[in-house]
């Protein structure tokens, strides 16, 4: 009897198979053969790589020959009571997605289309690009052994996983056929460290100088110090929220009273966000909407004066906490302090924000006074040996060896579009240099081939307006974050569209044509493909 499983039924079976994964017994010894089982039309395997990283392999029985190796993002390496459980986060994640539900929908959709999915938990939680790169190389071999009908491999990943994906494509182009880095860290981790570190240092300098902000102890003591810092940042941000309307500064601030009396705290808050390079819009603040009548003075004052501060407040809650944990993590990896802002010109970093947000910054005079506070404040100094080690960690060259389709939201909180913009710029320079070399070679009678531009960037743009207001005229933050804001905040449709674009690229060995991409993007919504769009470079790159 021929089995005829309807699509709907198949999706249901796939969902059951995903849930059933947890029932497997993971081999205890590294590198042992994976343990596999088939349920609901899905063959699922689990095992450990030679470095001890747990992994999961899954393919439908009608596997179409294209498999996705997924690299997950940065997971905090310590537990935060009530907020983050490090053990629960140290698991393999098969697909990207901002929530378990979106991951589930995405995985089901891809398995239902016949794609294979595999990923590892990495051997270590936290920043682990160097290790994960080796894990992935081994994992691809394991996959191919287990699923010998594999024809194409697409690497994809989000955030740190986007970094790993690009690094894999640069270093091992023969192992994969296409790359899809999402909300990626571009260039080096130092770029992300600088943004988070500047934001944290700004919060410390303006609002609570007792925040340690670096130089954390090893072991449990260091974990305690990080948790205390997180508490202090949270307290400062809560006080700042209370002072949005009144201009009051947190009680913990040691900025001279005369300055605090003359300049509202929201201006210092806006400065922290802008000098660090955080977006001026956030999950619930679009930067152009205001309460009440658009013609009113109150409306203009909100958009020009308050909105950037509120957006910064929302963004800082992510950036400053990341700053604490990433700094501590990288200090632990490299054996000493790694954030160094000696000689940093924060006026230069503030850049055009001085006039774009002059109202929020309370005008030029106030801006200069606040910059003076930053200039006079003690700076953080890195341990030279630790910094050298940090800079020897995995980094990108910006060479795009395989068809690569990157997606990012230019205004997202943790990895803004400046990361991908670095890759765009580096790739452009590399392609131009390769073209020049080819022309030179041909002119001298030597063989040469036309270099290919293998990079396509898809931007996840938020709607033009999405802020809603409460009856009291404050932005309503109770709803979900707008698409195109927060970190890697993609819909399942967007993720599936990116996977399909990646699969097309892998199949053809080149970037899909723009018409096909636009058609897939239209179905997903919220995506834009415009080669002339430029995201603001991260301060790490813009000021170097």
């Amino acid at each position: 009897m021929k089995t005829n499983i309807g699509k709907k039924t198949f999706v249901g079976l796939v969902s059951s198979a995903l849930v059933a994964l947890s029932l497997f017994v993971i081999p205890t010894s590294a590198s042992a053969n994976p343990v596999c089982a088939t349920a609901g039309g899905i063959k699922s395997c689990q095992g450990k790589t030679s470095d001890g990283a747990g992994y999961v392999l899954q393919a439908p029985l009608n596997f179409n020959g294209t498999a996705f190796i997924y690299s997950k993002g940065y997971r905090y390496p310590i537990s935060i009571p009530g907020a983050w459980d490090v053990a629960a986060s140290s698991v393999a994640e098969q697909v990207p997605g901002p929530s378990a539900a979106i991951k589930q929908t995405t995985a089901v959709a891809l398995l239902s289309k016949g794609y294979g999915l595999f990923s590892s938990a990495y051997a270590k939680t936290g920043w682990n690009a160097d290790g994960a790169l080796k894990t992935n190389v081994e994992l691809i071999a394991i996959w191919k052994k287990e699923f010998p009908t594999t024809k194409k491999i697409v690497a994809w990943g989000e955030s740190q996983g986007g970094f790993i994906t690009q690094a894999l494509a640069e270093n091992n182009p023969g192992l994969i056929d296409a790359a899809v880095p999402l909300c990626m860290v571009g260039g080096s981790v130092e770029a992300a460290l600088k943004m988070a570190g500047d934001a944290l240092w700004g919060v410390k300098t303006f609002f609570d100088p007792t925040i340690k902000g670096g130089g954390y102890s090893a072991g449990a003591a260091g974990v305690g110090e990080q948790l205390i810092d997180i508490g202090k940042v949270a307290a400062a941000l809560t006080a700042l929220q209370g002072g949005l309307a009144t201009g009051a500064w947190p009680a913990t601030s040691k900025v001279p009273d005369a300055i605090k009396a003359a300049i509202p705290s929201r201006s210092a808050l806006t400065m922290v966000g802008q000098m660090a390079g955080l977006p001026s819009i956030s999950s619930h603040v679009d930067g152009v909407s205001g309460p009440g009548d658009e013609k009113s003075l109150a409306h203009a004052q909100f958009v020009a004066g308050a909105a950037p501060a509120i957006a910064t407040l929302q963004n800082l809650s992510d950036a400053a906490v990341l700053g604490i944990l990433l700094i501590a993590d990288l200090e632990g990896i490299n054996g000493g302090r790694v954030f160094d802002n000696n000689g940093v010109d924060y006026e230069k970093q503030l850049g055009d924000a001085k006039f774009v947000f002059s109202s929020a910054l309370s005008g030029f005079d106030a801006t200069d006074i606040l910059l003076g506070v930053l200039k006079a404040a003690p700076r953080d100094t890195a341990n030279p040996a630790a910094l050298t080690k940090l800079r020897a960690m995995a980094s990108h060259k910006g060479v795009v060896n395989v068809p690569t389709i990157a997606m990012t939201a230019p205004f997202e909180t943790v990895t803004p579009g400046g990361h991908v913009q670095w890759l765009i710029n580096a790739n452009k320079a590399n392609v131009a240099a390769a073209k020049a070399a080819a022309v030179k070679a041909i002119a001298s009678g030597k063989p040469a081939t036309t270099p290919k531009d293998n990079l396509m960037v898809i931007w996840n743009l938020p709607p033009a307006k999405y802020t809603t207001f409460t009856a009291t005229g404050s932005p309503d933050t109770s709803g979900p974050a707008a698409n195109g804001t927060k970190h890697c905040n993609y819909t399942s449709k967007q993720l599936v569209a990116m996977a399909e674009i990646g699969a097309l690229a892998a199949a053809d060995g080149k970037l899909p044509n723009a018409g096909t991409v636009r058609s897939l993007m239209r179905k997903a919504g919220g995506l834009s493909f415009d080669r002339t769009f430029e995201a603001a470079l991260l301060k790490f790159y813009a000021t170097e």
Binding site: G287, K295, L297, A300, Q301, F364, D365, P447, F533, E534
Partner: protein, 431 residues
């Protein structure tokens, strides 16, 4: 031997393919420029139609459209109709950025024209990156001197005499006419105001009271604190270097408080119709206030440009109350039309910029001072005339009509001279 030949042949073939590919990449696209069709040219602007700077400035873009409609009714530019898209940015820089992105990405305009506001244009050029994208921004409605920096703003052309020039010229006037008096300054605390401060510094003017305000706060409450401080310090001459809403708020509050200084209004915030339209004080209250302009007064119907623009206004702008904002809009539009015409039968963004650089200084416009465009200069008008408001709100020259003061945005001298403005072209259309 055969193998070797084949290999060589393959190398040669791949080289040919490679050369063909590279050559193809180098051939310029033959398609029409963005925003240009066989029958139309699409251009757009961002201006405040509503919001804190809406009063007065909301008239600029409709006036531009009226002139473009007039041009279209007379055959358009090289056979193409001008399609003009207006976006309301509420004078808020982040909104200007959003709306300009819309114009470029969604509406796909050929060029931005007449975008208004210093901080707004700075934000747009920085965040939308007009320069690196090659999008022209013509004749911005701001006098910020920094926009004449071609290296920094390669596709932008300012037209207005700069705020630094204005401050230098009025600064010299203050020194010559108000020596020994207490002088006060109210200014917008951003690039707009900072530009003026540099000009005052060049002129050697010192203010006894100097009050910066943050853009967006120029309502009656803020104006009350200005007037209290000025009156308390017994300031006799008050110079307001802000937008019209700031001037209106200050004049209104001062009138209510019975404070009567010698007013000097910066050209940006000096349109009498707008000031009076926002206050409950009569126009006669402006009598004796000093201001400056680079264009004829909107009430001067003896001027051929004013007369012409009034006619266009009647037919194509619903006969709106004619004032300096409408003058500025139509004058900018007339410059845009000449630029589009000079860009050629198949205009490109590059040919548009080249046309302004090579011919822009000779084009007809209502402005009295000479225009400084060249391949190396992005300076628009280079001076002002000084006037005093009469009882009906007309600005009457303090010198003989046609007398202008020219200078630069650096430390060059202020020179008194006579305008040699080009005559209005036939029917007010580009030659």
């Amino acid at each position: 031997m055969i193998g070797s030949f084949r290999k060589k042949g393959l190398v040669a073939a791949s080289a040919i393919v490679a050369i063909a590919g590279l050559a193809l990449a180098a051939v310029p696209a033959q398609a029409r420029e963005v925003g240009v069709t066989a029958t139309s040219i699409k251009i757009g602007t961002t201006v405040p139609l509503t919001g804190i700077a809406g009063p007065g400035y909301a008239k600029v873009a409709p006036a531009m459209k009226a002139y473009f409609d007039y041009v279209n009714a007379n055959g358009g530019i090289n056979g193409r109709k001008i399609e003009f898209i207006i976006k309301d940015d509420r004078y808020l820089p982040p909104v200007s950025v959003e709306k300009t992105n819309e114009l470029i990405l969604k509406d796909k305009v050929f060029a931005i024209v007449g975008a208004l506001g210093t901080a707004n244009n700075l934000a747009v050029n920085s965040r939308v990156r007009l320069g690196s994208r090659g999008v022209p921004s013509l004749f911005v409605n701001t006098g910020f001197s920094g926009f004449a920096d071609k290296k920094k703003f390669p596709t932008l052309f300012p037209l207005f005499s700069s705020y630094r020039m204005e401050a230098k010229i009025m600064g010299q006037y203050i020194k010559e006419n108000f020596a020994g008096k207490k002088i006060g300054l109210i200014y917008q605390n951003d690039d707009f105001g900072a530009d003026a401060l540099k000009g005052f510094e060049s002129a050697g003017v010192k203010f006894d009271v100097s009050l910066p305000y943050v853009s967006g706060t120029q309502g009656a409450a803020t104006a009350t604190t200005w007037i209290q401080k000025m009156a308390a310090a017994k300031v006799e001459v008050v110079y307001i270097f802000g937008v019209t809403t700031a001037t209106a708020a200050a004049v209104g509050v001062a009138a209510a408080a019975g404070y009567k200084p010698q007013w000097i209004f910066g050209s940006v915030g000096a349109d009498a119709t707008t000031i009076v339209g926002q206050t409950t004080v009569p126009v006669a209250l402006l009598n004796g206030a000093l201001s400056m302009s680079f264009m004829p007064d909107a009430a001067d119907t003896t001027d051929e440009y004013v007369k012409f623009f009034r006619e266009v206004n009647t037919t194509y702008n619903n006969n709106a109350t004619f004032d300096n904002n409408i003058m500025a809009g139509m004058n900018g539009a007339m410059m845009v039309a000449q630029a589009l015409k000079a860009a050629g039968a198949n205009p490109t963004r590059k040919s548009l910029i080249a046309a302004i650089e090579s011919k822009g200084s000779t084009w007809a416009s209502a402005g009295y001072p000479p225009i400084g465009f060249s391949s190396t200069s992005r300076v628009g008008y280079t001076g002002f005339w000084i006037g005093k408001y009469n009882l009906t709100g007309s600005l009457i020259p303090v010198e003989a009509k046609g007398t202008i003061f020219t200078t630069d945005s650096g430390n060059g001298p202020v020179v008194k001279t006579t305008s040699k403005r080009p005559a209005l072209p036939a029917k007010g259309l580009p030659n």
